[in-house]
């Protein structure tokens, strides 16, 4: 019973609202206002377009347009040629880079040389991943190797110049080799 009265109330109030169309007072005012607003917006946008026209209007001149297109095409062609040329050069350079161990001069080794030698040694020493050592240890080893090369440079020269001494040292080394156990 209550449900029905609720529903009736809803229907009645909706009916009342439906029949009471809102009155639009002075509709011509809205019309005028809308037209004025549109005209103002048009003027604003035309002012902006005039400004843009004065700034970039020259791009619409026929010969300027054609020249710009030509320049753009030339620039693109130069860019493509340059890229192709650079790519070719890089390819050639990468083919030319062959580094051997002998090329790393002792004493004058740059950081890059050192790195390369380190890389080579480490890849040679641990093919099976058996020997483990740190990078700093390897660097230490390399430094001492270069030191030795410098210190004994003179000694090596003296040995080379004196055949008697050379023979003596070779004999000694051979003898030592014999006593070394095979690993």
């Amino acid at each position: 019973m209550k449900m029905t009265s609720e529903n009736d109330g809803y229907k009645k109030i909706v009916e009342i609202l439906r029949n009471s169309k809102p009155d639009l007072i002075r509709p011509e005012e809205i019309g005028n206002e809308v037209i004025n607003k549109i005209q103002r917006e048009n003027q604003k946008s035309s002012g902006l377009s005039e400004f843009i026209e004065s700034l970039f209007g020259w791009v619409y001149v026929g010969w300027v347009r054609r020249s710009l297109v030509g320049a753009a095409v030339i620039l693109i062609a130069v860019f493509v040629y340059q890229q192709a040329f650079i790519f070719k050069q890089v390819k050639n350079i990468s083919k030319q880079v062959v580094i051997t161990g002998n090329e790393t001069a002792p004493g004058s080794s740059s950081a890059l040389d050192k790195r390369l030698t380190l890389y080579k040694i480490s890849s040679r020493l641990s093919p099976g991943g058996e020997i483990k050592f740190s990078e700093s240890q390897l660097e230490e080893l390399l430094d001492s190797y270069y030191d030795l090369q410098v210190k004994y440079k003179d000694l090596l020269r003296i040995i080379e110049e004196d055949p008697e001494m050379k023979n003596y040292i070779e004999n000694k080394l051979n003898q030592e080799k014999k006593y070394k156990p095979d690993i």
């Binding site: 009645k12 009155d23 917006e41």
Partner: protein, 181 residues
């Protein structure tokens, strides 16, 4: 009824003809905006904004046939924007005067026509707790008597969403009537 030729002329940029379109479109948009927002002045502002937007985007509609639905859609979207900006009143305060008006009208024998002020008061009271979508569907379906298909097109909802929103809007208003009458 707005003639297709008139719309076509406006699409070409004819502002003089657009004034005629404004005259014909304004009452229907005002009705929806007024009923959705429950405020005469805001509804007038929405009508102005809507008409300016219509002028700016008129060239985008595919055919003149779809003008009416499209114009409604623009107006409903403007109302949505306004409702979202508005602080949503969570409490439905008891308004003695407005409930007395509703009570009197319900108990009266015939159907009386309301003044704008009374109309706005009652709409505000009844639809205060509805979401913007529910408001739109309630106004378009119950007050403007539009079919579900058209409402779906105007609100960009599916038909089932329209029906669901209408169901919840009705339920909400009925519970208010039960509570305060």
């Amino acid at each position: 009824m707005i003639e297709k030729e008139l719309i076509e002329e406006c699409r070409k940029g004819d502002l003089r003809n657009f004034r005629k379109v404004v005259e014909k479109t304004t009452p229907m948009i005002f009705s929806i905006a007024f009923r959705m927002l429950g405020d005469e002045d805001t509804a007038r502002d929405i009508v102005q904004d809507t008409m300016v937007t219509i002028w700016q985007k008129l060239s985008r509609i595919k055919t003149a046939d779809s003008y009416k639905t499209w114009a409604y859609r623009v107006a409903v979207n403007k109302c949505y924007d306004h409702l979202r900006k508005q602080k949503r009143q969570k409490e439905n305060r008891y308004d003695d005067q407005a409930w007395a008006i509703i009570s009197n009208h319900i108990s009266e024998e015939g159907i009386t026509e309301l003044e704008n002020k009374e109309n706005a008061q009652i709409i505000n009271l009844l639809t205060n707790k509805l979401s913007p979508k529910q408001k739109a569907v309630f106004v378009l379906s119950e007050l403007e008597e539009m079919p579900a298909n058209e409402i779906a097109e105007i609100t960009s909802m599916t038909r089932s969403a329209v029906k669901a929103n209408l169901y919840y809007a009705r339920k909400n208003i009925e519970s208010l009537l039960q509570k305060y009458l």
